[in-house]
């Protein structure tokens, strides 16, 4: 039976982890490679890096981090943030990423997904959708970390990215992100119902019950969280044991 995945996400800015794990044994709390290794050793099913570096000139920094991490972590590695061209994808994959997550570039031109999935295979193309609720059962796609409104309906866009060859959808609720009040389950349910590719839930996790809700109520194939793991509130293992105790199948 296919297991539900738990994916810790590391926000990286100029080569440093922004929200770091407060583990005392860490030599360098801001080192993304070391943190990825801790997650991987702790049973993370995948590792996700989100590069929030503002400038384009620093692409080499994230590539270097990916290169080093991939030599030590033997679970899938997804990298997102600033992926805008085929060349960006090539560079990340060559450095050792297994998947790339595309956001703004996919919204700007959905055919970019088609081009990328044709070239590299759907298995490595994740489309990140940032959605905000605009009215009852209606969500809109936003870009640039929730700043830019696009006018695109999130459910329609999800169907479109699937049709264009995306392998997975990373769905973030901009309303919930950072609030610790749980995933937007209605949004999640609408998207998982409307598509046939795996959906990764993101944005809003504050408790282990939120992970449970994302999978059981929202229908997500994987749940992504940042701060509950970063600040050492929960370990990956704890999260998995909790889900297992509630009959959600996970890799233990």
């Amino acid at each position: 039976m296919l297991k539900n995945r738990i994916i810790p996400c590391l926000d990286v800015k100029n080569g440093r982890v922004v929200k770091g794990i407060n583990f005392v044994e860490l030599k360098d709390a801001g080192d993304p490679v070391e943190q990825a290794k801790i997650y991987s050793d702790g049973g993370a099913d995948e590792i996700c890096f989100l590069d929030i570096t503002a400038s384009n000139e620093n692409r080499e920094t994230i590539i270097d981090i990916v290169r080093k991490t991939a030599k030590e972590c033997f679970v899938p590695l997804t990298v997102g943030g600033g992926v805008r061209s085929i060349q960006n994808i090539t560079d990340l994959l060559l450095a050792g990423a297994d998947k790339v997550s595309i956001n703004t570039a996919a919204v700007k031109d959905v055919s970019f997904i088609k081009e990328a999935s044709k070239k590299f295979g759907s298995q490595c193309i994740v489309v990140a959708i940032d959605a905000k609720k605009v009215s009852d059962n209606k969500w809109e796609v936003f870009t640039h970390g929730g700043r830019n409104k696009t006018g695109i309906d999130a459910i329609e866009f999800a169907k479109q990215v699937e049709a264009n060859g995306a392998g997975e959808i990373l769905l973030t609720s901009m309303d919930r992100d950072g609030t610790k009040s749980g995933y937007d389950i209605d949004l999640l349910r609408e998207i998982t119902k409307s598509t046939n590719i795996p959906v990764i839930a993101s944005g809003g996790v504050g408790t282990l019950d939120h992970l449970y809700d994302g999978i059981v109520k929202g229908g997500a194939s994987a749940v992504l969280a940042a701060s509950i793991f970063h600040y050492g509130e929960y370990e990956i293992k704890e999260a998995k044991e909790y889900l297992n105790s509630k009959n959600v199948s996970v890799r233990l």
């Binding site: 039976m1 296919l2 297991k3 539900n4 995945r5 991987s40 099913d45 991939a70 030599k71 033997f74 679970v75 899938p76 994959l93 060559l94 450095a95 050792g96 990423a97 297994d98 590299f120 295979g121 759907s122 298995q123 490595c124 392998g167 997975e168 046939n196 590719i197 795996p198 194939s221 994987a222 890799r251």
Partner: protein, 208 residues
Amino acid sequence: MNVTIVDYQSGNISSVINSFTEVAKGNVNLEVTSDIKKIKSSDKIVLPGQGSFKSCVDSLNSINELVDTLKEFAIIYKKPLLGICVGLQMFADVGFEEAETKGLGWISGKVSKIDNQNGKFKLPHIGWNEIEIQKESKIFKDIRNKSHMYFVHSYEFIPEDKSVISATTDYSSQIVCSVEKDNLFGTQFHPEKSDKIGLKIIDNFIKL
């Protein structure tokens, strides 16, 4: 010992290289190449594969003498070869991804899309699933039944001769996820992405 990972421009093989490098730890001479001479002088070959069946077969065929050299290595000299993901699928006679495409024909069978029971199962089959060991396989030494492996695929290999199947996994039906036929080994899952247990499979192959 010389282990060659065949680099035929079929997508991302960085993880395969990293994991083999980790396991080989300098004890094995690891080459990543499509050089015919080097392949011929290898002791073991790894055939990765990402993307579609058709694109992988086309890439193999685009390199002069490569298919014949691999066939000579695996079928005539019967030296160990491990196919991973589409690398395994290409052992089949035919694949149906993108378009009907002739495979290597080393193990009779076909590669078809997983029956997702009208959308009941999401495709691709992505994530960690348990393998159910069907027969002893040399690459499963010290691997427990129901170990978790990482999968990412939408197509499955259906061999004619079921005795080649060394493991299956449950996703909508029992999907063939590992085969062993004489010196030919193949995994549908990605040992290179399957944590320590996956590295153990790679170690078993290297130590054959």
